[in-house]
């Protein structure tokens, strides 16, 4: 099982910084708009198929954004308290295990995914976890509660998330237990 992102040490995700324990959360907004890379669908064969190749324009754009991010990150990390540093390290070092994500996809939707695609979904899902936890903290603070988050904080956060984003979409109702009804 993977326990870490396969990322270069100093790189951090562009718009997401973990909410530190006390001070305000700094969110870096991407300077460039997210671009479509316009690549053709990858040929579908084999477990180790590579991801679609990236166009040079998009690659350069990301490269300069990443390098700017690295500088910003250094400034941020230089100013972390020990508690903030520890929390940030936990955020960076851990990731959802891609084999488990792959299994979830295959068992819930019946669709096949390659390992690279599962890894991408795992990375996206990690951001989702962050969105829910951050919302749950807001819920908790609005109720003037403290301590570890409770299932109720999460459920309320998820409800808010669904209301704000709309259900991802064409997911048909699953048979059996539906946990969270809108």
């Amino acid at each position: 099982m993977d326990s870490g992102d396969d990322e270069p040490v100093a790189t951090q995700p562009a718009p997401v910084i973990a909410a530190a324990s006390s001070t305000s959360t700094t969110v870096l907004q991407p300077g460039a708009a997210v671009r479509q890379t316009g690549v053709p669908d990858e040929d579908v064969e084999g477990e180790d198929e590579l991801l679609p190749a990236m166009a040079d324009d998009d690659y350069s754009a990301q490269l300069s954004w990443q390098s700017e991010s690295k500088d910003n990150l250094k400034v941020l990390m230089d100013n972390f308290s020990p508690a903030q540093y520890e929390r940030f390290e936990a955020y960076r070092r851990h990731a959802l295990p891609k084999q488990a994500v792959r299994k979830v996809i295959q068992q819930t939707t019946g669709q096949q995914v390659s390992q690279p695609v599962a890894q991408i979904v795992a990375g996206v899902a990690k951001v989702f976890v962050g969105e829910i936890v951050e919302k749950a903290r807001q819920v908790q603070s609005q109720r003037n509660e403290s301590g570890p988050l409770t299932p109720d904080h999460l459920r309320e956060a998820y409800r808010m998330y669904q209301a704000e984003t709309g259900r991802v979409g064409s997911a048909r109702p699953v048979r059996g237990k539906r946990l969270f009804v809108r």
Partner: protein, 95 residues
């Protein structure tokens, strides 16, 4: 599609991630379990949507990209593009 019980598959990593994202140093176990259920539902929803109305047999990156193209998902889409970039970076470094 059935939503099988994946209890515990993600617990270990989820605990650390939840702390990283703002939860207590030791998140409550039942909270982690609920997070896992929500997570599984999220993954299933995205991939179900990505597969489209005529459910494809195999999901591609383009499918996922389309599924995350709405404004509220901008952060997640940006993360995807960033991950793709990192893979590309590695690939070019090897070439």
């Amino acid at each position: 599609r059935k939503q099988a019980n994946f209890k515990g598959l993600f617990s270990k990593e989820l605990k650390n991630l939840m702390y990283g994202f703002g939860d207590d140093r030791n998140p409550a176990n039942d909270t982690v379990n609920v997070m896992e259920e929500i997570l599984v539902e999220f993954i299933a929803d995205v991939c179900q949507t990505a597969g489209g109305p005529q459910r494809k047999t195999r999901l591609s990156i383009e499918d996922i990209r389309r599924a995350l193209s709405r404004l509220p998902d901008a952060k997640k889409l940006a993360r995807m593009e960033e991950l793709l970039f990192m893979q590309e970076d590695i690939k070019r470094a090897r070439a």
